[in-house]
Symmetry: C2
Subunit: 297 residues, 2 copies
């Protein structure tokens, strides 16, 4: 705080004392969260390892707008909290879980993204340890469900022209939970021209996902795919003790493709600290259990 006076001869202190916010329009700001976890698929053959699946928590909307469709958990930011605090608060209300990884994803601000009024969404990615997955939805467990996430690239075109190019990628997003299937097609276009560059995400088709949340989910999965390769972010999805094969499975479901064992272990063994525990009663050779070893850079 300094003692310069402004053109009205007021100090900053005096200015602030007499300040009252104008009456211009303001947006509502919501926090929406893509809460991921990695869970075991059911496996009948007891000798086989269960496959992993990437799960996302969604909530069925009980009121307008988008009634009957599924939305990301979220809520409005309250005065005297940051968006991050708001996310943690809602996360706790929704899942009862505290130990969580949280990362700001993107602020979506299309003024018409909510049909009611002007609502921006400051979105977050949350990763939760699969041990805590049992903690099913908060208040009334009613309409919160974990959906299996599948995101595939269905087409990709690059057209070059003088001084730039345009790259168009189409993603198919599928969310599955029991008999419920939600799906969407999202196009991402990246346009480079002498007039600058532009990234645009558009919902081409949408079946059952509220608001622009299909876009947010796609963006979140793509961010996860990127960061999993050069950070230790995936550890947040792991339980306290895990095998290297389980860690590899988590990488595979995030990346959406199989990885080769030996090089995977060479690259990511730094994320795991060996313990003297082992798996047992598995119908095959037991596996050493590891615990998380966070990277420091």
């Amino acid at each position: 705080m300094n003692e310069f006076k402004d053109k009205n001869g007021l100090t900053e202190e005096q200015f602030l004392a007499s300040y009252h916010p104008g009456d211009y329009p303001k947006p509502s700001v919501a926090v929406d969260m893509a809460i991921f976890s990695a869970a075991d698929k059911k496996e009948d053959n007891y000798r086989k390892l269960p496959e992993k699946e990437l799960k996302l928590l969604m909530i069925k909307r009980g009121g307008h707008p988008c009634i009957g469709t599924w939305a990301l958990p979220g809520g409005f930011v309250e005065p005297d909290e940051t968006t991050e605090q708001s996310a943690l608060r809602e996360l706790h209300e929704e899942t009862g879980v505290d130990n969580i990884y949280l990362e700001q994803l993107y602020t979506f601000s299309d003024p018409h993204r909510d049909p009611r009024t002007w609502v921006m969404s400051c979105s977050y990615i949350a990763l939760i340890n699969s041990e805590n997955l049992n903690v099913e939805a908060g208040d009334d467990a009613k309409d919160a469900q974990w959906f299996t996430v599948k995101l595939d690239t269905v087409s990709q075109h690059t057209s070059e022209y003088d001084g730039g190019f345009e790259k168009n990628t189409e993603y198919s997003l599928k969310l599955l939970s029991g008999d419920t299937v939600l799906s969407a097609v999202i196009s991402h276009s990246f346009i480079r021209s002498s007039n600058g560059s532009q990234n645009k995400y558009e919902i081409i088709k949408n079946d059952g996902i509220a608001f622009d949340h299909a876009k947010i989910i796609t963006y979140a999965v793509l961010r996860l795919r990127g960061k999993v390769q050069y950070t230790d972010i995936a550890l947040n999805l792991m339980p306290e003790y895990f095998t290297l094969t389980q860690l590899q499975q988590v990488y595979e479901i995030i990346l959406g493709k199989p990885l080769i064992k030996a090089p995977f272990r060479r690259k990511y063994c730094m994320l795991a600290e060996p313990t003297d525990k082992q798996t047992a009663d598995a119908g095959h050779r037991p596996s050493q259990l590891f615990r998380k070893k966070w990277m420091s850079d």
Copy 2:
């Protein structure tokens, strides 16, 4: 839009027609921009190549709060525009320039970051081609200045404890323009524990930079440093024709460290397309001129 009725028996259409926003408090949302460019330093010896400097556009505040300090260009988001459109609009007002790279950086939401009232800042990075740098500030050229940016790591400590660790990095930020020197010390702490993880940026010391903008600038430079290594983002700072040495200089000022020529060229020659032009009258061997070749992935 679907035809489900809610608990009041209203269709979505009817609901929206009767909807009016509640009266709960809302934040103002500002867009702040870190507008970078890469400019030549003056060089007396005509035989030597001029060095490059990373520049950032700042605006001197003429009113409270933070009167007399320097702030990032920005303004409030208006209804019916996205934050990105708002950034482009203000960018045009401020610099008169249109061909610009724009990327959302982060949404800063500490409710006390603006002493007046509750203002969130959705911040952007903008990169402008140094050819257009001459376009000095918009309306009245008065209090807009390009500052040379220096960001150095002054200390880094990692302390490990059971089940987690804390990493603390202190950055010194210096902004120089003529005789004006703005400076700040920002600490970044990254805390990993069994209770989740947390990233925190704090302003430790601040001399002449408005609001929390020292934090935004630090965050922006760190983002640039990261992305320059695996994207073609640096090309946005280059003029139409450039030498590979100039491209290397731009990388060096962003990363804040010297690079070795041969491997740099091997790695980044893919970003440049040779032309048949050359530099001339330089007092030494002429250099081939290249133009931008955007990557497509």
